[in-house]
Amino acid sequence: MIQLKNVSKNYGSVVALCPTDLSIEKGKVTTLIGPSGCGKSTILRLINGLILPTLGIIEFEGQIISPHNILEIRRRTGYVIQDGGLFPHLTASQNVLLMPKELKQSQTETQQRLEELCQLTDFPPDLLNNFPGELSGGQRQRVSLMRALILDPDVLLLDEPLGALDPIVRSSLQQELKDIFQSLGKTVILVTHDLHEAAYLGNVLVLLKSGQVMQQGTLEQLKNQPADTFVTKFITSQRSLIEI
């Protein structure tokens, strides 16, 4: 679905991502995991065209991502960031319906889709006219997810979507996200620093360190056939959490 071919990103002399090859499989949930500053968010922003690679190419279903086709590709990908990224001057429904309105899609259809998404994300429809400032953290993330899903995208990009939530809400949303991923069957790339969350939600884990992919595989593969000592160290440090 998405291929990174020898992609690197530098900011001046600072290397954010070393030359990397990465293949994201269609219909799978791939989680990018690693310590802060390892380059996981950089990969997400490169795929969405928010930043351009210093070297290499990124293919989206065989199409090389460039400034010419980025709008079309962005509309085929839903994007959710840590604090929701909702626009404070728009109500929940205005945030969700912004793009359908921009693309002049039928109002009846989008309204129907909004209702379905409310159900899917368990968002109370009576809060649709509330502004982001009037919603709780969890509710904002649900709205953000609805906004990402409204155009029925092929790919979902989630950058620490649950990072700013308290443990209870986070745990409940993790379960809901898993259900949503399963029911939609979409290609998902999720960034997290939490191995438990990565393993719980993802089919494939990509472990990064200092802008380099250390290992790609299932949790079992990472545990039983670690590529190097860092992988073992990373898993061990979070083992107690995984075992809970």
């Binding site: 990224g85 909702l86 626009f87 001057h89 728009l90 982001p132 709780s136 700013a164």
Partner: protein
Amino acid sequence: MIPFLRLKYLCVCCIIILLLTSSIRAQEITIGSKKFSESVVLGEIIAHLLQKNAVTVEHKQRMGGTIIVWEALKNGDIDLYPDYTGTIRQAILKSETDLTFEQMQKKLSTYGVSMTGKLGFNNTYAIAMKQDKASNLGIQRISDLKNHPSLTAGLTHEFLNRQDGWKSLSKHYNLQMKNVKGMAHELAYVALRNDDIDLMDAYSTDAKLLEFELTVLIDDLEFFPKYDAVFLYRNDIDSKSINIIKTLEETIDEKLMMQLNQKAEKEKDYTVAASLYFSQIKSDLTQESPSNSMLTPTSASFTSKVAKFAFQHLKLVLLTMIFAVLIGVPLGIIASQPGIFSQLILGITGIIYTIPSLCLFALFIPFLGISEKNAITALVLYALLPIVHNTATGLQTISVQLRESAAAIGLKPSAQLTKIFLPMASRTILSGIKTSGIMTVALGTIAAFIGVGGLGEPILSGIDLNAPEIYILQGAIPVALLALLIHLLFELLDRIIIPRGLRQSDGNTQKRPKKDEVEELLASSAE
């Protein structure tokens, strides 16, 4: 989005109304006058005379000094104004030598301008002192000033700078005065009375010379040339109007002019003074009582006067603000992007802001003449800084996350700007526009110096006539009320335009957890 559409329609409606009101103007003769009572009274006399003969007139009162009014006449911004032969020869025609009446006519005709015959009085410059001070110091003639170089002179800016003014006078009489101050003519009388200054320049027909019992120093070395009053008019005005203007020739002598000036100052009204002229002329002919022949003032009632000035002022402010927003917001958008253009735009608008307002008005006279265009151009330039600065700041303070979100969901750059960034910065932008609006209301009063009218006009006239009731009631209070009105209007706009989500605490901040959420969290921690 809807409030922005509403604003767009509001702007379009304002432009249409202003275009309509400015286009509904009949062909008319525009009279100019300089910024002192006598000039305005003469302007009012000719205005009424033309009106009586069914000519539509507009009188731009108190436009400024000689150069400003002369430039306005040359450019066709006005059709006629009163001036003096001495001034025409030296300040306008720049002639070192004496010129005959015919020579002056010939030179003026190269500018498409003609001069009427003499109106009948000579208003030359004079140097005046308080009677008691002059007699105590033994000063009767200008030559006597040589022995008193420490005296303080309070002179009009025009007299200080004109060729036949203070510099030449000092040279002619070999004066070595050390303390020379520039000040407004009418204020100099007050300063003289309070002994803040010792001598001043005056016009020989000034009513205040009588009122304040001042001594006019004898021009013993005959420095001051003749200043016979005349009207200068453009040759392209119709012959009927020219003939009417010429009927004023030889009808006003020094005594009458001094009376008219006194009337203007006593009644605090130029129209009343002009009516005295007509009653005098009529009573000379018919021996009628002057009170029976009073003119109907052009703007008689207090309310209609204030309404007229307020309307002119509001129009000036509204037009200024429309242009300032149309130019300032796009400039602010460019200035919000990092780079050389940002620095350049913010730098230039900042520099413009530091230019003294009168200088800026005067700067555009050669290009735009004495007109509303000139005033609006200067006011727009002043109004730019708060709008540009606030637009740039409002846009720059939008977080990177929200900027990226706007791009990531697939909005085009133009839609990101209009649908997300501008509405998000709307509160800061509106606050900049409000600051500009209130500032323009205040600065707009300066526009009266170039005869554009507005609430600055009663302020200047009031100071000229030493009538606080005019400049406070008709000028200062309406300006303050207008500023308050603008403030309230923007408060209202804030409620209409600013989305509710922005009026609450920052939409991105985490909402305080509800009570049940807190209890749940505490319970889970206890476990």
